[in-house]
C-alpha cells in the first residue's frame, strides 16, 4: 500500500487509519473506565477490541484480526453484554476513593509508564518506518502452529478443556 497522491497533498492512508484506530482504542479504554453504566463500559470495550483488530489488519495479519473480532468481539463480549442484560445491572456506585490507590497506585502507574517509555525509546525502529509489506498468511501461521509449536498448542487446548469442565462442575447444582 503506497501513499495515495491527491493533487499536491500527499496522503498516507495506512498512517491515517493507524492514528484513527489508535485514538479510537485509547478513547474506548478511557471511556470504559470513566463511564458508570456497565453496558456502556461493555460497548466501549467492544470498540477497543475492533480498533485493535484493525491495527492487526494494518500490520498485515488478516487471520489474527479476524480471530480477534470473532473471539473477543463476537463471543466473549456478547457473553458480557448478555450477563449485564440478564442481571439488568444499574449504574455502579462510587466508593470513597481509597487511600491505597492514591499513595501506591499512582506512583506505580507512573513507574509503569516510565518503564514502557524507556523500552520504547530503546526499541529498534525498522529502517523503512512503515508496517511490513507482507504479513503472515493464515497458511504460514497454521504451519508454524501445527508443526513447530504443536505440543504447546495442544497443551493449551487441554488446559482450556480442563477449565471448561471445571466451570461446568462448579456451575452444576449440588445434588
Amino acid at each position: 500500500m503506497a501513499g495515495l497522491e491527491l493533487g499536491e497533498a500527499r496522503m498516507n492512508i495506512p498512517l491515517i487509519v493507524f492514528f484513527a484506530c489508535a485514538l479510537l482504542a485509547v478513547a474506548g479504554a478511557v471511556t470504559l473506565i470513566l463511564v458508570r453504566e456497565p453496558i456502556y463500559s461493555a460497548l466501549a470495550l467492544i470498540v477497543v477490541m475492533v480498533a485493535i483488530a484493525i491495527l492487526y489488519l494494518l500490520l498485515g495479519s488478516e487471520f489474527i484480526a479476524a480471530v480477534q473480532i470473532i473471539v473477543y468481539g463476537g463471543a466473549i463480549m456478547v457473553l458480557f453484554v448478555f450477563v449485564i442484560m440478564l442481571l439488568n445491572a444499574g449504574a455502579e456506585e462510587r466508593t470513597s476513593y481509597s487511600k491505597l490507590a492514591t499513595y501506591v497506585g499512582l506512583p506505580l502507574a507512573f513507574f509503569l509508564l516510565l518503564e514502557i517509555a524507556h523500552w520504547l525509546a530503546r526499541a529498534r525502529v525498522p529502517a523503512a518506518g512503515g508496517p511490513p509489506a507482507e504479513g503472515v498468511s493464515s497458511r504460514a501461521l497454521a504451519t508454524q502452529l501445527f508443526r513447530q509449536y504443536l505440543f504447546p498448542f495442544e497443551a493449551t487446548s487441554i488446559l482450556i478443556l480442563v477449565a471448561v469442565l471445571g466451570a461446568l462442575v462448579l456451575a452444576r447444582k449440588s445434588e
Binding site: I39, L43, E62, I70, A75, F82, L86
Partner: protein, 403 residues
C-alpha cells in the same frame, strides 16, 4: 479522465459499492414483495394486489409509509443505544455482502474484477467476524427499549445466535478441509469439474450432512421460521423490536432480509459451486439461457398486459414487459452472454435458497424454546462434530493412499 486512469482501484471500487448498494436495496424491497406473494399463494390468498400490477409497486409504497410514519421513542429508553442498535444491525448486515463474489474474477474493468467489491484472502473468516458482531444489534435493541417483551426477545435471540453460531461454524469446516482455502474464489474454483461427466463436483454431495447442519443453523442465525422465537408474536408481541417504529423498525427488517441474502450466498459459494454452471461445458446452448429466461418473462408479461391489465396498470405492466424483453435480447448477444454467465448462475442459486426460506415460513410451525436449545446443542452440534471428524479422517486416508 486522468484521475480515473491514475486510480483505477479507488474509482472502480466506489462504482461497485454504489451499484451494489442500489441493487441490494432494490433486492431487499422486492424480497418482501416476493415473500408476501409466495406465502399468500401457499395460504390460498392473492397477497399484495392493488398497488401496481400484481402489487409490484407495494415495496415502494411500504418504503414511503415507513419514512413518513411517526418515530416514537419510549421515554424510558436509553436513547444512545436505542438509536445505535438498528444502525449496527443494518450496517453490519450490508457490509457482509461486500465480500460475496457474484461472478468469476476474470471479468474485469480497468484491471479490477467487476463482480466482487472486496476479494479478501480469508473471506470466510471475515464474513464470520462481521456476522458474529451482528448479535449486538438484536441484543442491544432488546436491552435499550426498557420493556419486558423486548428484553426477553433480545435475551432469547442472543442465546439462540450464540448457540447456533457454534454449529454453523463447525458445519462449514468440513468444506474448508476439502477446499484447503478460506478465499471464496478458491473455494468456488475447487468445485469445478464433474463426476462421471454429469454430476458437478459441488461440495454438497460429499458434505450432505454438513450442508444440512449449515442450512439449519443458518435459519436459526437469521431468526427465521421455525427458529423465529425472538419475535414469537403470541408470547412476546414482536420480540426485540417491539418498541421500534417507523424507519428504525424498517432498518431491522432490512437487516433481517440482508442476512437472509448473505446466508443464501454463503450456501451457494460453499456447497453449490458459486457462479459455476451445473451443466457440462460441452452444452453450449446454456450460454443463451439467461437471455431466454428474461425473454420468456417478457413474453409472459406482454400477454398479461394485453389480457389482464386495465388503465394505469396496463401502462406499468408494459414498462415491465419492455424492460424484460430489452434486457433479455441484450443478454442474447454472445459478447454479453459470456460475461453474465457467472452472475446468472450465482443469482439463480441464491434465488432458490430464498424461495426455500419463504417456503419453510409458509409450512413449518415454531419450535418451543427448550426444544430449540436441545436441538442446537444435543443434536446439531454432535452431528456437525462427527461430520468434521469423518471428513478429516477420509482426507487423511486418501492422502496416505496417494502418498
Amino acid at each position: 479522465m486522468e484521475f480515473i486512469a491514475q486510480h483505477p482501484v479507488l474509482v472502480v471500487s466506489l462504482g461497485k459499492i454504489i451499484v451494489l448498494l442500489f441493487v441490494l436495496m432494490t433486492a431487499l424491497a422486492y424480497l418482501t414483495w416476493f415473500e408476501r406473494k409466495v406465502v399468500a399463494h401457499i395460504q390460498s390468498r392473492w397477497g399484495p394486489y392493488y398497488v401496481g400490477p400484481h402489487g409490484l409497486l407495494q415495496p415502494l409504497a411500504d418504503g414511503v409509509k415507513f419514512l413518513f410514519k411517526e418515530d416514537v421513542t419510549p421515554p424510558t429508553a436509553d436513547r444512545f443505544v436505542y438509536v445505535l442498535a438498528p444502525l449496527l444491525a443494518l450496517s453490519l448486515a450490508m457490509t457482509a455482502i461486500a465480500l460475496i463474489p457474484f461472478g468469476p474474477p476474470d471479468v474485469r474493468l480497468l484491471g479490477q474484477p467487476v463482480f466482487v467489491v472486496s476479494n479478501v484472502d480469508i473471506g470466510l473468516l471475515f464474513l464470520f467476524a462481521i456476522t458474529s458482531i451482528g448479535v449486538y444489534g438484536v441484543a442491544l435493541a432488546g436491552w435499550s427499549s426498557n420493556s419486558k417483551y423486548a428484553l426477553l426477545g433480545g435475551l432469547r435471540s442472543s442465546a439462540q445466535m450464540i448457540s447456533y453460531e457454534v454449529s454453523l461454524t463447525l458445519s462449514v469446516v468440513g468444506v474448508l478441509l476439502l477446499a484447503g482455502t478460506l478465499n471464496f474464489n478458491g473455494i468456488i474454483e475447487g468445485q469445478r469439474g464433474y463426476w462421471w461427466h454429469v454430476l458437478p463436483r459441488w461440495h454438497v454431495f460429499p458434505q450432505l450432512i454438513g450442508f444440512c447442519c449449515y442450512i439449519t443453523s443458518a435459519f436459526a442465525e437469521t431468526n427465521r421460521v421455525p427458529f423465529d422465537l425472538p419475535e414469537a408474536e403470541t408470547e412476546l408481541v414482536a420480540g426485540f423490536h417491539t418498541e421500534y417504529s417507523s424507519f428504525k423498525f424498517a432498518m431491522f427488517f432490512m437487516a433481517e432480509y440482508a442476512n437472509m441474502i448473505t446466508v443464501s450466498c454463503l450456501a451457494t459459494i460453499l456447497f453449490f459451486g458459486g457462479w459455476l454452471s451445473p451443466f457440462p461445458t460441452e452444452w453450449t446452448w446454456q450460454l443463451y439461457l439467461p437471455g431466454a429466461v428474461l425473454v420468456a418473462i417478457g413474453i409472459y408479461s406482454a400477454f398479461d398486459t394485453v389480457a389482464q391489465m386495465r388503465g394505469i396498470k396496463r401502462l406499468q405492466m408494459s414498462v415491465v414487459t419492455l424492460l424484460a424483453l430489452g434486457l433479455g435480447s441484450l443478454c442474447l448477444v454472445p459478447l454479453v452472454a459470456v460475461k453474465i454467465q457467472g452472475p446468472f448462475w450465482f443469482l439463480s442459486k441464491v434465488f432458490l435458497f430464498l424461495f426455500f426460506y419463504v417456503w419453510l415460513r409458509g409450512t413449518l410451525p415454531r419450535f418451543r424454546y427448550d426444544q430449540l436449545m436441545a436441538f442446537g446443542w444435543k443434536l446439531l452440534l454432535p452431528v456437525s462434530l462427527v461430520n468434521l471428524a469423518a471428513t478429516a479422517a477420509w482426507l487423511a486416508w486418501s492422502w496416505v493412499r496417494h502418498a
